[in-house]
């Protein structure tokens, strides 16, 4: 309860400072709209359906691209971890391409696919795949071999060994790999939507883009707020439960430890 009060006080204060700053009249309201005008824009966009449509289009692209990226990246990451040769080749390739900001794929994608959904998808997949490979590769290399050894002495082998030992043992890196991938998919999709204008769907990035074209700062900020909120929500819904599980079981989760030092089971449960 105390935490909730502190958190809401913090964000209320942020909004109040913003509102006061815009009302002070030092900056043009065109460039620095008030909280109220942004809220009005969001309300209006919600009412006429453009906002939900944009969210739907964006999330659909994100999920499809992300899933393709993970489906390609996870096995390739495991492959990269399997030998020194694959690490030197596939691992190095992934590391190199991951340093390429995903927006750099946009010209490539537009030339190959034109102004289509395919271009959009391509950018998202390219943004996701490399980081998933890197995280998976790194994680798979850090599974303690003792787990498989212990399991084998107890008679576990083949399918049982893979599903009951290797899979759960790899959960920490699977989750971190998928989370990495998600963050990069989200970033690359926004880049793609801002730069690739297509008519088959009007996503959040395009909302942002047209806000700039129309000089509608309330729309620009409103779209940014929605993008931030979706990122936060996705993290909470998709990854936080897994991370809490890992933290409880392994007792080692850097993020959870930072947020909740000396976390007991009951407090973790409360947090959810």
């Amino acid at each position: 309860m105390k935490r909730f009060v502190i958190v809401s006080a913090f964000f209320t204060m942020l909004l109040v400072v913003w509102e006061l700053a815009s009302e002070s009249g030092r900056w043009s309201p065109v460039l620095f709209p008030s909280v109220v005008s942004v809220a009005q824009y969001l309300w209006g966009a919600m009412m006429d359906g453009t906002l939900f449509e944009a969210i739907r289009v964006t999330l659909q692209r994100l999920l499809v691209g992300y899933m393709i990226g993970v489906a390609i990246g996870l096995p390739l990451g495991v492959l990269a971890s399997s030998s020194q040769i694959s690490e030197d080749t596939l691992g190095a390739l992934a590391l190199g391409l991951q340093t390429l900001p995903s927006v750099c794929w946009v010209p490539f994608a537009v030339l190959w696919f034109g102004q289509t959904e395919g271009a959009m998808l391509f950018v998202v997949v390219m943004g996701t795949v490399w980081s998933v490979i890197i995280a998976t590769n790194h994680g798979a290399r850090t599974i303690p071999p003792i787990y498989a050894r212990a399991a084998r002495t107890m008679g576990s082998e083949g399918l049982h060994l893979w599903t009951m030992v290797m899979l759960p043992a790899s959960l920490p890196f699977l989750v971190s790999g998928m989370k990495q991938g998600w963050a990069f998919a989200w970033r690359s999709l926004m880049a793609a939507e801002i730069f690739v204008t297509i008519l088959t769907g009007f996503g959040l990035g395009q909302l942002l883009h047209y806000g700039r074209e129309l000089n509608a700062m309330d729309q620009v900020i409103g779209a940014m707020v929605v993008i931030v909120l979706i990122g936060l929500l996705a993290d909470r819904i998709l990854f936080a439960p897994w991370e809490r599980f890992l933290h409880r079981r392994w007792g080692t989760n850097v993020r959870a430890r930072m947020l909740r030092p000396a976390c007991t089971r009951t407090r973790c449960d409360f947090h959810s």
């Binding site: 050894r149 212990a150 399991a151 084998r152 107890m154 043992a169 079981r249 007792g251």
Partner: protein, 275 residues
């Protein structure tokens, strides 16, 4: 690979007793090849363990005693020689020879009870009710019945090794292999565990092969100590420890036994001070 075996045919006593021994190690040698060098880890190691006997292999660090245990467990293949369990050659790991490892080997994704159930789940002859009952019994035996639902990371080092012991004992293996199970524990926890281990072992009547570099630990726990030389490891001497049980680590006679073993080890490693 096999043609090296006949080098050791002179160990006639081995073949005679092989039939009555629970565990026979015959002329086992092992080399580890790295890109830079080949390390000769074990050199023609032979030993036998009778049913219900508790045997300890001691030796200086890096003498290959853990490798020997791995080979007995079937986790590592020897380059020469072979291991017989109940007269049958060991070709791979199996649940008749369970291992308590030095490093923490409990599965963090399972709770304490789940860890003990893991091995039991691979015993098709047991019903699920029997499995649960056995898991409860062994956790009570190691004194952790109150921690069945605890997560692994919540346990202390000593508690983790107790769970590992319960996990290894629960499927009722023929042979229990322990690889420096107390190596990572502090002295006080270790001494406490010696008492518990002696009680549990005498209840279970298992054949046990135990590896350590601690002479007093060896003298306290086992019937017979086999001394290994430094790498390449070979067994150079055997000591019987005919002391009544339960033994105390501070017992004068026990300390003198430990001293005898340490002295011969010093003779082999050339003045080094073993622990």
């Amino acid at each position: 690979m096999l043609d090296q075996v006949h080098d050791y045919d002179d160990s006639k006593s081995l073949t005679v007793t092989a039939a009555t021994s629970k565990l026979v190690v015959e002329g086992v040698s092992k080399w580890f090849r790295t890109p830079r060098a080949t390390v000769h880890a074990l050199d023609n190691v032979s030993m036998q363990v009778s049913d219900g006997e508790v045997v300890c292999v001691v030796g200086p660090s890096g003498c290959g005693k853990s490798t020997l245990l791995d080979i007995i467990a079937g986790l590592t293949k020897p380059d020469a020689g072979r291991v017989l369990a109940d007269g049958h050659p060991v070709t791979g790991p199996g649940r008749q020879r369970l291992v308590v490892f030095q490093e923490p080997s409990l599965f963090p994704w399972l709770d304490v009870f789940g860890n003990v159930m893991f091995g039991l789940g691979l015993c098709p002859e047991l019903s699920s009710v029997e499995r649960r009952e056995i898991a409860h019994r062994y956790l009570a035996l190691v004194g952790l019945e109150k921690f069945e639902r605890a997560h692994v990371h919540e346990l202390s080092g000593g508690m983790k090794q107790r769970v590992a012991l319960a996990r290894a004992l629960a499927p009722d293996p023929q042979v229990l292999l322990m690889d420096e199970p107390f190596g990572a524990l502090d002295a006080m926890t270790r001494e406490h565990l010696y008492d518990d281990i002696q009680r549990i072992w005498s209840d279970s009547c298992k054949t046990i092969v135990f590896v350590t570099h601690n002479m007093r630990e060896a003298a306290c726990l086992v019937d017979r100590v086999l001394l290994m030389s430094k790498a390449p490891g070979k067994i150079i001497q055997g000591f019987d420890i005919p002391l009544p049980r339960p033994r105390s680590i501070y017992d004068v006679e026990l300390v003198s036994h430990a001293g005898r073993i340490a002295d011969s080890l010093r003779g082999t490693v050339g003045g080094g001070v073993p622990e």
